[in-house]
């Protein structure tokens, strides 16, 4: 449980977004506190991915704004926007590794080009991040030579190398073959245990139960339920969240 007296690390304030005449996000507000893990759940098309991409202005919201450490971010100021994004790591469903760079360079390129590190420094840092996700020996391989799980771990290393204050994870395991999901979840679990502040869209229910501090259930552009997984997912509770999750489990036929 978070105390309200603490200032949130990141504050999302009244974000709305319409795309193609359809309202995808309807005035979403939420606070992320330091060390917290929030999970976004809900049917596809509910706005989870759009919300996450609005949180670092990859998609420009129509209304509303973001604050990081109490500072209002002005997306119209390109320099300020770039500095803000350096502090917000993002993991995509389909990895989005840079196809022309080996794993090591995928991690080190932003260190060199954005942080201005020397080639040697960046390389050392990139190696230690690859080591953290268990890929120290794969640095020379290109994205096309890696499995999906390895690609996603490289993308996590790439984000971590920038020392983000918060991580946005957009269904990081949804594009993976089932047997590769656990290696990626293990890395994310390690991050959570080390106190990384995260918000993650996922359908991994077991993971959510054990690690989420708060679950946000999104549907039709609104957060319609929120609370701790113990409450929302308790047996016999009449929440939409539990209803939705039992449907996923029926389909997947698993626990």
């Amino acid at each position: 449980m978070q105390t309200n007296a603490k200032t949130p690390l990141m504050r999302v304030h009244g974000i709305s977004k319409s795309l193609g005449g359809r309202e995808i996000l309807k005035s979403i507000s939420l606070n992320l506190y330091e060390g917290e893990m929030k999970v976004l759940i809900g049917p596809s098309g509910g706005g989870k991915s759009t919300l996450l991409q609005c949180m670092n202005y990859l998609i420009a919201p129509d209304r509303g704004h973001i604050e990081l450490l109490g500072q209002h971010i002005d997306p119209g100021n390109h320099r300020e926007l770039c500095l803000f994004r350096q502090q917000v790591g993002m993991i995509f469903q389909d990895f989005n590794l840079f196809d022309h760079l080996c794993a090591l360079d995928n991690v080190s390129i932003a260190l060199r080009k954005v942080r201005g590190m020397s080639k040697k420094q960046a390389r050392e840092r990139a190696l230690s991040e690859l080591d953290r996700v268990g890929l120290a020996d794969k640095g020379h391989l290109y994205p096309a030579e890696l499995s999906g799980g390895q690609k996603q771990r490289v993308s996590i290393a790439r984000a971590l190398a920038m020392d983000p204050k918060v991580m946005l994870l957009d269904e990081p395991t949804s594009a993976l073959d089932p047997e590769l999901v656990s290696e990626v979840l293990a890395v994310i679990r390690g991050l959570a245990q080390n106190g990384m502040t995260m918000i993650m869209a996922t359908h991994q229910m077991g993971f959510t139960r054990s690690l989420a501090d708060e679950v946000l259930f999104m549907q039709e552009g609104r957060i319609i339920e929120q609370g701790s997984p113990r409450v929302l997912l308790a047996e016999g509770s009449k929440t939409r969240t539990l209803d939705f999750c039992s449907q996923i489990l029926d389909v997947e036929g698993g626990v």
Binding site: C82, D94, D99, A110
Partner: protein
């Protein structure tokens, strides 16, 4: 028959010097086209409305007018008006390069658009500025994908370069024409010119193919 051979042997060194002029003009035009085409493509894909319109106008202009008209328009018209005293070869290279820039921009534009939008997002999410993301992530991949289209452009510029003859540039065609009109050995001389263009096309394509292989990304299937 004997006379024909003598004419050919006499003409060959002279026409080969023309081949050197052709090669310089074509390489110059390719690179000028590259330096014009890349910004045009980036402007057309990522630019605001005004930039997109301006780039579009450039492409529309150079693709819509025959090279022969452009050569006259620039060499006798614009360059003279501006008081530029350019040699025929330089003028032809500039016109071929500017025209090729319009065509090359469409090759690069296609390559850029074929890349996933996600890589640009990932670069921006790391805090790269738009310009840096395009330069370090998008263009290195787009240029690799453009090499096959670039080979095609090479063979087109090479053959268009024969038109420089009308400005008086002393390239393969002009020199062949000069010898032929003196000796009346039209068939063997123009055949020689044809073979030279053929060989130059072939060499260029082989070089570009090996470039394509050299910069290929491991395991990359596009």
């Amino acid at each position: 028959m004997h006379e024909t051979l003598d004419v050919l042997m006499d003409a060959l060194p002279y026409v080969l010097q023309g081949a050197a002029v052709t090669i310089v003009a074509v390489i110059g035009a390719m690179f000028l086209g590259l330096f014009i085409g890349v910004p045009l493509a980036v402007g057309q894909v990522y630019g605001g409305r005004l930039i997109r319109i301006l780039c579009g106008l450039y492409v529309w202009f150079f693709r819509g007018i025959p090279i022969l008209v452009l050569l006259f328009l620039f060499y006798f018209g614009l360059f003279t008006l501006l008081g530029l005293n350019l040699s025929a070869v330089v003028a032809a290279t500039i016109v071929l390069g500017m025209t090729s820039g319009a065509y090359q921009s469409q090759i690069f534009r296609g390559s850029i658009l074929s890349l996933s939008r996600g890589q640009l997002k990932a670069a921006q999410a790391l805090g790269m500025s738009n310009a840096m993301a395009i330069r370090t992530i998008i263009l290195p991949q787009a240029l690799r994908l453009s090499i096959p289209g670039w080979s095609n452009e090479y063979s087109i510029i090479l053959k268009d370069s024969a038109l420089a003859f009308v400005l008086g540039a002393s390239e393969i065609m002009a020199r062949t024409h000069f010898v032929a009109s003196r000796t009346y050995q039209h068939l063997p001389l123009y055949l020689t010119a044809a073979v030279m263009y053929f060989i130059l096309t072939w060499i260029g394509l082989i070089l570009l193919r090996s470039l394509e292989k050299r910069v290929r990304i491991k395991g990359y299937v596009h």
